[in-house]
């Protein structure tokens, strides 16, 4: 029997990147989502600051001071890339040109709500462009750890933290599995090595649907 092996950050990003199709316009949020760019081929990356078609992070000493992605990382611009101003960067988002927005989150609810901008007990929050991305993109994918650091579930019946958007999450990747967010709730489609559906349910508040075709995620990445 395989040992229980939760996915690491790179593995989660690699698996989500497999969902991208050639030619897609993709926006990656700060954190784990950014790592998807290491695995995605033939997609175009969009950044909130108006950079379209950016490439990998560049080596130290090779940076162009005026070339950063939404995470502030110094990246290259691929041939065919272009620049628009901030209002047009969000015009692209709201008008539905993004095939997918991949975001991190604190919580996701079984109805597709998610909460990623404000934590409990702190004044203010950090939204950035998350609320625009969440309502504008054709699809929202979330990547996050399955539980909080102290083991509390993050896949909930209803979000407890202030929502970023309602009913928009289509796909959820955690270190324990890959979930479709369906009208019936979270549907576990792929599972981390060594875990059983019951193991995953045990750390999940919402009731899981288990795909009849459930497979183990290969540990690429």
């Amino acid at each position: 029997m395989t040992e229980k092996t939760p996915l690491n950050r790179r593995q989660m990003a690699a698996r989500v990147a497999q969902e991208f199709r050639e030619g897609w316009l993709v926006n990656l949020g700060i954190g784990i989502p950014t790592l998807c760019s290491n695995f995605a081929k033939e997609v175009i990356f969009h950044s909130e600051n108006g950079v379209i078609g950016y490439g990998p992070q560049v080596a130290e000493g090779e940076e162009n001071i005026n070339m950063v992605n939404a995470g502030g990382q110094h990246v290259s611009l691929l041939p065919g890339g272009s620049i628009v101003h901030h209002a047009d960067a969000f015009a692209i988002i709201r008008a539905g040109y993004l095939d997918v927005s991949v975001l991190g989150s604190y919580e996701v609810a079984e109805n597709g709500d998610f909460a990623n901008w404000k934590t409990a007990g702190r004044k203010g929050g950090g939204i950035g462009g998350a609320m625009d991305l969440a309502v504008g993109a054709k699809q929202v994918f979330i990547i996050m750890e399955h539980t909080t650091r102290d083991g509390k579930p993050r896949l909930l019946k209803e979000v407890a933290l202030p929502a970023t958007a309602r009913g928009v999450v289509k796909l959820l990747m955690t270190n324990l599995g890959l979930f479709d967010v369906t009208p019936g709730g979270f549907a576990l489609r792929e599972i981390a090595p060594g875990y059983s559906p019951e193991d995953v349910q045990a750390v999940t508040e919402a009731e899981l649907l288990i795909s009849p075709d459930l497979i183990q995620i290969s540990g690429t990445g």
């Binding site: 909130e48 600051n49 108006g50 950063v68 110094h74 004044k123 950035g128 462009g129 625009d132 202030p162």
Partner: protein, 237 residues
């Protein structure tokens, strides 16, 4: 004779009075008008309202954080009012927690569009962003073609500080790559637009008219960044 050239940053910001609203572009350490900010620090205007994506103060460089530290703001309008982690709190976060500065939190696309609306003479607009969240509470909602939107109003400003690569004497501007960010829309939205320029100011006609990013009619004051001014550099990793 059109002449918008000012001889120093200090001269260009001299008339900014207490209580003014100022727009500050910049995103990820690019396109930040650091020299004008330094001049405003010296100039000392108080009770300002700032419109800016973030609140700066994450490193030693001059950005909006130094103006926050000098208590020059009454209020900031921003897309980030909390730090990602309590351990990474900035001077703004400290003052905000202590209720010594006000803030209005706006999602970034709505911020950009509200700035654009001011520069386009639009009275208000409906956006789908923030529907169903705390930020939409108390705002007017409307269903349009089966989708829900909230009503948002323009952000006007007395001044915009702009950082450009290149300018001509008419005030036509060019930006380099991600330096562009909020600069063009803030230049359109403010009553008085003040620009710090990296390269020597060119004669009118030297910039290809097809490749002007901000038309000179939006620009009021231009200052060349002096050799001993503040130049961008890549931060140490």
């Amino acid at each position: 004779m059109i002449d918008k050239i000012f001889s120093s940053m200090d001269e260009a910001v001299a008339d900014i009075s207490d209580g003014s609203t100022i727009m500050f572009p910049g995103f990820g350490n690019t396109g930040i008008p650091r020299n004008l900010m330094a001049a405003l620090l010296t100039q000392g205007a108080k009770n300002l309202i700032g419109i800016s994506n973030g609140s700066g103060g994450r490193d030693d460089r001059i950005d909006i954080g130094v103006l926050v530290r000098a208590r020059q703001f009454k209020k900031l309008v921003m897309a980030f009012t909390a730090s990602p982690h309590p351990s990474r709190a900035t001077i703004f976060n400290e003052l905000y927690e202590a209720e010594e500065i006000e803030a209005e939190l706006v999602t970034q696309g709505t911020m950009a569009e509200r700035i654009r609306a001011a520069g386009a003479g639009i009275g208000a607009f409906y956006t789908p962003a923030s529907v169903g969240t705390e930020l939409a509470e108390g705002k007017e909602h409307r269903m349009i073609d089966g989708k829900e939107y909230v009503l948002e109003y323009p952000f006007h400003a007395d001044y915009a500080f702009i950082r450009a690569t290149r300018a001509d004497t008419w005030g036509n501007l060019q930006f380099t790559l991600a330096q562009r960010n909020f600069n063009p829309i803030m230049a359109m939205a403010a009553k008085t637009t003040i620009v710090e320029v990296e390269e020597d100011i060119l004669e009118a006609g030297a910039i290809d008219p097809d490749h002007v990013h901000t038309a000179g009619i939006f620009v009021d004051r231009i200052v060349k960044i002096p050799e001993d001014g503040i130049w961008d550099s890549v931060p140490q990793r």
